[in-house]
Subunit: 413 residues, 2 copies
């Protein structure tokens, strides 16, 4: 493979004109010499991740950027599981969980078990491996009070309601099948049994006894939500035969990357915010390029500023992303990595004025000395639309990158 690709993703970077920026978008307003250089040396375009006018989540946006389609979307549970390094197989049903505290009447006293941080590994281990009929339970702690539950066995379904009541002072909800199929009914029954046994096991656990003796809330119950079934999809890296790595702070992106078969690099210095350590992050990208064909460098703060309706903050975040890309380019230059094609993209727009994801297209660039060179000289929502890539769908953009790796299949003869 003679080309390597570095794909730099600025989460939610697409925006709309902001009054406080003189009706420019943050990308138009910010000083972005490195992003603009890439645009100048390559081809630009705008991209609809799924479909023009359809906002997508960070999870689906990245799923598409990595080579999947909306049909492959497994729901939050499985993505969370991959984020926690639980490898799912087709048919597994996964749930996002909280450790919680119930009182003697079975009412939820604290949905986060006093925001428990210590000992969740032992508690999770006590639940992991439980067997309910022919279904095996995989249970793994995540950050703080969060955890992942996976049911593995034949004939399961994700058509299951959440058991998390979302409020406190009420009982845990009973899991219900949302359709009449045998699979959903079986899964609801198994999940109810898992939750019952979990209360028994957790209530008796020495760690919880100790918490109570210290006046802390015991993590004596689990609440579930976001049931999702692992679809019959292959890792894209196995299907197309290439090596990929994702450098990111956010567990959602990490989960999607693992589902796609990418290795992941995480360091506590990657904060997922504007204070993320771009020196370490760019180092990680260059190191990953030595060992992989395709490296994703993810940057989160742009999205956060959009959700906060903070145009000035988004300008700063864009400039930090520009600095991150600039550092990576500088370090790549010093290494003998062969031909590295650098691409810029986003997973969706998060316009400040909307404080949420929107269906506005995002700007994209593909840049390198063997890439067609158009006359766009700036990376922003409007300039990029004049480029040689024109307007494309997310799957086309991803497929195009993989074609530069020469791993897509030729059709016909």
């Amino acid at each position: 493979m003679k080309n390597k690709i570095l794909l730099c993703i600025a989460d939610g970077v697409g925006d709309r004109p902001c009054e406080s920026l003189g009706f420019k978008t943050p990308l138009q307003y910010a000083k972005t010499p490195h992003l603009d250089k890439l645009a100048k040396d390559g081809q630009s375009g705008i991209m609809d991740l799924h479909k023009a006018g359809t906002p997508v989540g960070t999870d689906l946006g990245h799923l598409i950027l990595f080579g999947y389609s909306i049909k492959d979307y497994p729901g939050r549970g499985p993505l969370e599981a991959f984020g926690e390094n639980v490898e799912l197989v087709t048919g597994d049903v996964a749930f996002r969980c909280n450790f919680a505290t119930i009182d003697e009447n079975g009412n939820v006293k604290d949905r986060r078990a006093g925001r428990i941080r210590e000992g969740t590994t032992e508690l999770a281990n006590a639940l992991n491996g439980m067997q309910i009929d022919d279904v095996t339970v995989i249970f793994k702690e995540a950050t703080e009070h969060r955890a992942v539950l996976v049911l593995r066995g034949k004939g399961l379904s994700d058509a299951i309601t959440d058991t998390d009541p979302k409020i406190e002072g009420v009982p845990v909800k009973k899991p219900k099948a949302t359709n009449d199929c045998d699979e959903a009914i079986k899964t609801a029954k198994v999940l109810a049994e898992v939750q019952k046994k979990a209360i028994e096991i957790l209530s008796a656990h020495p760690l919880n006894k100790e918490r109570e003796s210290q006046g802390l809330l015991p993590a004596n119950c689990i609440l579930t939500r976001g049931a999702g079934s692992m679809p019959d999809i292959k890792k894209i890296t196995e299907r197309l035969k290439f090596k990929a790595c994702c450098i990111a702070a956010e567990s959602t992106v990490i989960g999607v990357a693992r589902l796609a078969g990418f290795s992941t690099v995480y360091d506590p210095a990657f904060t997922g915010n504007i204070d993320t350590n771009i020196d370490k992050k760019s180092d990680a990208a260059v190191k990953a390029l030595k060992e992989n064909d395709f490296v994703v460098l993810h940057f989160k703060a742009t999205d956060l500023m959009g959700h906060d309706n903070n145009p000035e903050g988004k300008v700063k975040a864009v400039e930090k992303f520009d600095a991150l890309v600039g550092l990576a380019l500088e370090k790549i230059e010093k290494e003998d990595l062969g031909n590295v094609i650098v691409a810029l993209a986003a997973d969706h727009s998060t316009p400040c004025e909307r404080r949420e994801h929107s269906g506005d297209p995002v700007p994209v660039v593909i840049s390198g000395k063997n890439i067609r060179n158009d006359d766009v000289e700036k990376f922003d929502e409007v300039s990029s639309a004049k480029g040689a890539l024109c307007r494309m769908q997310g799957s086309d953009f991803c497929n195009t990158l993989y074609d530069y790796l020469e791993v897509t299949k030729k059709e016909g003869n």
Copy 2:
């Protein structure tokens, strides 16, 4: 029908920046006054034949340009059959064949029967019309040692392995069904019987006896590959009711054109390379425009130069294509043909640096006095992307041309 269309196809013309051309593409580097004039007088765009980033073969690329989709792709066997003027009907299973030589132990001595050139018509006739149960055998010689085998009958399948062992000194492979369906099992059995009978008939053929007496290798066996089943598709010329003609040297393009219901014009002076006779070819195009609504003028050398990684050669090929188009335009001008819309396209990109087809889009132009006129003034991968056609799929481009012929169906009322 008030418009006629001349579609000029430069095979594999799309490329990427070439270092030896100062990082221009061959199309950007070459002097192409006639192609540029068409761009100036019409609307430009870029086209993904099937999907952005997915390379297509010459056969599928032309199938799409003529109005079909990837679902209609019948495989190599049927296209080869059409190339040899064997008209297939739905359900036929066709194979590419070699006449070959086997020794007394049944091992392949020469996969090409000493590159036999003479007498293959008689040998093919001896096999043609063979009946195995309810299956009729159609057998036709092609160039040199090549031939086409068609099995016609009910309940046949193309899920059949190649019998060509690809190497010499080993036995002919037995045809095997690649699935458990009755159709595939039946077809494998019939093919085995055809091959057995072919050995009997060919071994006893006077022409082979004579070859042996002259010390030449006898063509005493057939090897098959590329099984393909004729899909249930109608000739596009019949479906949309127009008359079309294709002027080409390459048998693949000729085969696809015949499948689509186009008449074809071939002359030994059309070489399929840079020395093709553009005077004769442009004459043929103008003559065909008198008798047809839609004429395809195909030029091959651009693709060959890409496969050879010869940027300078590709520049020359592009300039020859420009001269061919120029001659055609000049001759059309002198005739009273009504309004002739001239379109430029390619079946795929063949970047020199890749030496293979790629998924990069190709430039297209549609030009004529009744065609929207944008401000693009040059025909190349980057300039064309700024045109009024924007970025389109192959099926959209083809459908657009057929709409100018006023043969596409209005939907709704």
